[in-house]
Symmetry: C2
Subunit: 496 residues, 2 copies
């Protein structure tokens, strides 16, 4: 009876996963292939499949089966049941009325944000933002009651299962404290050296694409199970057996697109390395946003912006674009790839300043949700925080609190995962190199097998078997702390 | 109450249509973009969505609503209800056991056919073919009992709603009788003239694609609502607001691919011209296979292989490929486009001999299903029929009864729609030109607006409002007969 309930749950979640995989392919097509006139029809298709998947999940029968499934001896099955419960709780915790209000408010606010941002008009969006915050506050409280956690943690849990603000504070606070002086030091040191030379373009798209694909292969991306295409906003989509990554090209620059491709390849290797035997079950899904982001940042920041890899890359890139001269020397490209700037825009920032952008948003969104910070005071609070954390003040809201879509389209509790991912990446890479010391030398030869093997065994193949905390402890010997990330920044940017 | 039942049905069928649209996009992706390693995952996704759509349709609640919906005053709603009933009957007529057996037997037979055909091994496939025939016989009987028609008509109805073998015989028998002597005459006349010159290649794919897209635009294809891509087997897919057609290219020849593109554009214009206000309802769907095929054949055969259009095309094609000399003269290209051959392979045949291939299959499949012809005797019967209808005998089964996938993957009752489509195309084009006499002159200038406007008003915008018979009568003044097709062949191939 118990075994039967569990088997029925697996059948149910298998179907839900297949519908979600179909949705993922439809989303990829929307972003890469779909003609503009297909938008309404695609929205219909995707809305319908979301309803189908949601109805399969919230069916009261699922609750009964979860109650009847009992304890599972096998660790994977036990974890699968835990993840099923988590998905069920998230899907059923909110009253239908609130789900609908959230959906409408998010859509309306996002649409208005697309007007407000170019017009630098925070006042225009304020009422709608207040509405979105109020509804997310209510959602956080409703989920908190079921999950038995704080309201912010309940929102965080949607992206970062088991995430807790107290644990984030414990790593973000020391990181914030060290960043401000560190950024000063890095910029001083950088200013004392000659600026890197930007290789002159144009870089034809076809050559960029070929180079990107070559490096994806070098990293172990299997084109029998994936593709590289173009979209406005790069992403990793598709399904684990058919991973679709995207980039966008500028003919003037190749660095951004290339590093973007390597970043998405990190996501793709994770998806592809998930255990095939749990493909359509919750336990077979990626562990959460911070682990997912750790995989892209490990590949991009830890591995591919390392001096070892840039030494491998420089002659290949030079040849790919028919370049010559000092701009194409490894040392120059390395400096270009590790250039630090005190910028205003998160998405354009480097790995040293990025965490400051994220910590700012994390702290502000907690205050907005708790009510401590009224939304009307967001622009002032934003600018003050920028001054405090980065030493710069945005000249307007377009370059300040209007820059990111996240809050306006309803992604509350999402921002911290970026920097949790960066710290996790540093800690994992540090452990990988300690356990497999030839990883850097292999990368210098363009051999990623030792690194990817370590990641597969310690991260990819684990999927959602362990909690994020236990996964990291098992792989690195300790839970998350900022020390590996700090060491990485000091080594790379201060030669310490 | 009655109005409410109808409204609930519209909601239900809207959801079914959205799932089917999603399936169509997934199928397009499978054929054009998907890496080979994605096949298993895609099969899971598509099988799941098919089950979802099927369960939505066969839900007993649908039967209750259909019973309760009552008569509808509005002609579109009445027709919508009629089409809903038809879909419901087809989906519920077979016991689940038979649906599963059919699905398995078709898949197994198709897989075996992929081995048997290259090996010219009919004996190998025979047991599986016998099983497929027996199951389709049973399915035809089961559906016949519900639909109140003959078993063959019940299978035909799946592709050609309302189709009846007696009516097909009434047009195929005279057509078969006139074809044999007509083919002789055409070949004699052709032999008395110089053979057309094949323009020498190579024809780079990019130039072929550009020419194809240019002509698609000429025909009125809107790239804001569609795409042209490459697949092994050309098709028209996607959804009416996002029509995806495909072709394949050979660098040695451009004629085949170009005519293929124009053929699929005919299908695409039909899909795109379906009434937007009935987009997600059964009455808004294409009328059936013979009407769909009539739209592709009207564009390809009636319009684009006409002398008028080839005169427009010749200088454009010459310029597109940088050609020169007599091979690129309109008269030569026209002869090339209207070349007739007594071939063994249906898919490679011209419009004069094609109907003979179809009539052969139609007659044989009826005998196979009725039991009059044992499957073991198919090769002999095939070869005798080829001799009778076309005057040639296949040297082996690979070029004979093993050439088409249709019977082996379970498409019984499908073949006649090709030639019903060809005849319908001739009858529609004849009516269009009679009602809008400047159509040929406009085509000579590359202006398809008069033709497409007529098709939109008389065919596309009607969707499934009328039966096939009534649609054709309303557009041409009479039900289907072979006279327009015969006149077309005599005019084009015998200058009569």
């Amino acid at each position: 009876m118990t075994a039967d309930a569990y088997a029925q749950l697996e059948t149910r979640f298998h179907r839900i996963a297949s519908v979600n995989h179909a949705l993922s392919v439809l989303h990829w097509d929307l972003a890469t292939m779909m003609p503009e006139g297909g938008m309404d029809a695609r929205s219909e298709q995707m809305a319908t499949l979301k309803v189908v998947a949601h109805e399969l999940l919230v069916d009261p029968r699922v609750g009964e089966l979860l109650d009847g499934a009992g304890a599972q001896d096998d660790a994977w099955r036990a974890a699968n049941l835990r993840e099923m419960r988590r998905q069920y709780v998230h899907a059923t915790a909110l009253p239908t009325r609130l789900v609908e209000e959230l959906s409408k408010a998010n859509a309306k606010c996002e649409a208005m944000w697309r007007e407000a941002r170019p017009n630098n008009d925070f006042a225009m969006i304020l009422p709608q933002l207040e509405r979105v915050i109020a509804l997310h506050r209510e959602a956080g409280q409703a989920k908190a009651a079921v999950l038995g956690v704080e309201p912010y943690d309940a929102l965080l849990d949607q992206w970062e299962p088991g995430g807790r603000a107290t644990e984030i504070d414990a790593v973000f606070d020391p990181l914030a404290a060290l960043l401000r002086p560190l950024i000063e030091q890095v910029l001083d040191r950088q200013a004392s050296r000659p600026a890197p030379i930007v290789p002159p373009g144009p870089f034809p798209v076809e050559q960029q694409r070929a180079l990107g694909e070559r490096l994806m292969r070098t990293l172990g991306f299997d084109f029998k199970h994936g593709r590289l295409d173009v979209s406005l906003h790069p992403f990793c989509g598709g399904t684990p057996d058919d991973v679709r990554i995207t980039t966008r090209y500028s003919e003037d620059l190749f660095v951004q697109s290339l590093m973007g491709v390597l970043h998405e390849t990190g996501h793709a290797l994770y998806e592809r390395g998930l255990p095939a035997e749990w493909r359509y079950q919750p336990v077979g899904e990626p562990r959460g946003m911070s682990i997912h982001e750790s995989q892209s940042l490990l590949v991009e920041m830890q591995a591919c912006r390392s001096r070892a890899f840039v030494e491998y890359l420089a002659p290949i890139a030079r040849e790919a674009f028919g370049g010559s001269g000092p701009a194409w020397e490894a040392e120059n490209l390395y400096r270009l790839y590790t250039r630090v700037e005190r910028g205003l825009i998160r998405t354009e920032s480097d790995e040293v300043t990025y965490p400051a952008h994220v910590i700012l948003r994390y702290r502000l969104e907690r205050k907005l949700l708790s009510g401590e910070l009224p939304a009307a005071e967001l622009p002032a609070a934003w600018n003050a925080s920028m001054q405090e954390l980065l030493g710069v003040t945005p000249p307007d809201d377009r370059l300040g609190c209007l820059q990111d879509i996240h809050w306006y389209d309803g992604a509350w509790g999402y921002f911290p995962t970026y920097t949790l991912g960066a710290m996790t990446a540093a800690q994992l890479f540090d452990a990988a190199v300690r356990q497999t010391p030839d990883i850097p030398d292999a990368m210098r030869r363009g051999d990623f097998a030792p690194l990817v093997q370590w990641l597969r065994a310690n991260v990819h193949a684990k999927a959602s078997l362990l909690t994020t905390r236990d996964l990291l402890s098992a792989a690195t010997g300790r839970p998350l702390d900022p020390s590996a990330f700090e060491r990485h920044l000091r080594r790379r940017y201060l030669d310490e």
